[in-house]
């Protein structure tokens, strides 16, 4: 959220995040170059190839970690701080992967009779063979996808493309990861006999797939859960189950979700989809009286779904009412920014009495 344009809204958290990230990358590459020849590499290896592998494996592990962050944050909120600056993580991954490419070009293609970049694309072209498939194509395709994601990572593009389109575009990272795994499996692993490489390169995609399947299964179960209705209204929660200042995600008929919040003696419901990056508002909390997205801290007033002035973001709202100890919600979402009267507990209880 910004009133005047600033290219990157740096803050202390972002500085720390980037500094630690950079430190880990430098540390990994240093340790790999220092110790891999004795521990992993079974045969003598040239320094240039060693550096190539250091940056290549680093980019692979970084992309693996990035893909784990989403499901990890859904499974355990303690991972949310890592999600906060994930875009910087992605940008750094691109540059590490690009450095790997520079070493590849410098070692294998710079003395080619044709232009080195032409050589990268044309030196091996047995595209009909599985094992001899040109791994350079797989690696370059991965890098192109990462470049597009890096180039459009800024909030300007998020706003320009709109969050749904931007998210669809950035789902290309899954394709990139698939290509990258095959780049490795048909490349290094064809020539390398150390057991460490297949173990690491095999365990990483299994971890990513396992985490995404776990979250998908959790979502699927939530979607299939029986919704009890009272006329057109849906039973959202028992009053006693609502924790003060914390959100609760409600699955509505058709699969849409609402975010239900109790804040003091009031209860309101908003769309579960943050206007910034479609983050899950129901997994957020109330800070300073405002619903706060767990991903990047965008805030909305619980009564009408509007960001506080001077910000202009809006999300949809839902009508809520109390019946006995049950909180009911009308599943028809009101347009973004529409005020919906909250449940005021004392008043509602007096009315029931």
């Amino acid at each position: 959220m910004s009133v005047k344009y600033t290219p990157v809204q740096w803050n202390r958290n972002k500085y720390w995040y980037d500094a630690i990230l950079l430190l880990f990358v430098v540390l990994y590459i240093t340790l790999f170059i220092r110790y891999a020849p004795g521990l992993i590499q079974t045969s003598p290896i040239d320094g240039q190839i060693l550096r190539m592998r250091a940056f290549g494996t680093c980019a692979f592990l970084m992309l693996t970690f990035i893909l784990c962050l989403g499901p990890l944050a859904r499974l355990d909120p303690r991972f949310l701080p890592l999600l906060y600056n994930r875009r910087h993580f992605g940008v750094l991954t691109f540059f590490v992967a690009f450095t790997h490419l520079q070493f590849v070009v410098g070692w294998y293609h710079v003395f080619s009779p044709v232009d080195p970049w032409v050589s990268v694309l044309s030196s091996s072209s047995n595209a009909t063979s599985f094992l001899d498939f040109p791994i350079e194509w797989l690696g370059l395709a991965t890098l192109v996808i990462l470049f597009v994601m890096m180039a459009t990572s800024h909030d300007f593009w998020l706003k320009f493309l709109t969050p749904p389109l931007w998210k669809t575009l950035h789902m290309g990272v899954y394709l990139a990861y698939g290509l990258l795994v095959m780049h490795v499996a048909l490349g290094t692993l064809q020539a390398e006999r150390s057991i460490v490489y297949p173990l690491v390169f095999g365990a990483c995609p299994l971890l990513v797939i396992g985490l995404h399947w776990t979250v998908a299964l959790k979502d699927y179960r939530a979607d299939r859960a029986k919704v009890s209705a009272d006329g057109d209204w849906i039973v959202a929660s028992e009053l006693a189950d609502l924790e003060d200042s914390h959100g609760r995600t409600i699955v509505l008929p058709g699969g849409e979700r609402a975010a239900l919040f109790r804040y003091g003696d009031r209860i309101s419901a908003l769309s579960n989809v943050c206007a910034h990056q479609n983050g899950p508002l129901g997994e957020g909390c109330i800070i300073d009286g405002l619903v706060t997205c767990p991903w990047h801290g965008f805030q909305y007033r619980p009564e009408d779904g509007c960001s506080p002035a001077p910000f202009t973001e809006k999300v949809g709202t839902y009508r809520v009412k109390l019946e006995g100890d049950r909180v009911l919600i009308d599943p028809a979402m009101l347009p973004p920014g529409t005020a919906a009267e909250p449940i005021i507990l004392d008043r509602a209880r007096r009315a029931i009495a």
Binding site: F130, Y174, G178, V181, M182, A185, L189, A216, N278
Partner: protein, 53 residues
């Protein structure tokens, strides 16, 4: 829209979850044996008195 994205996510990870391990294992299982490292062979001295092949 969120429903569509969730379904797309599930479909993508279902496909990747099946395809990637299969291709990965296939790439490992089918990889050719590396040639046995040849030991250094001393160049044979030419036979005395010449003589070629």
């Amino acid at each position: 829209m969120q429903v569509g994205h969730r379904r797309a996510h599930r479909a993508i990870w279902l496909v990747l979850g099946v395809l990637l391990p299969v291709l990965f294992v296939a790439a490992l299982a089918l990889r050719p044996d590396l040639p046995v490292e040849a030991e250094a062979v001393e160049r044979l001295a030419p036979k005395a008195g010449g003589g070629g092949p």
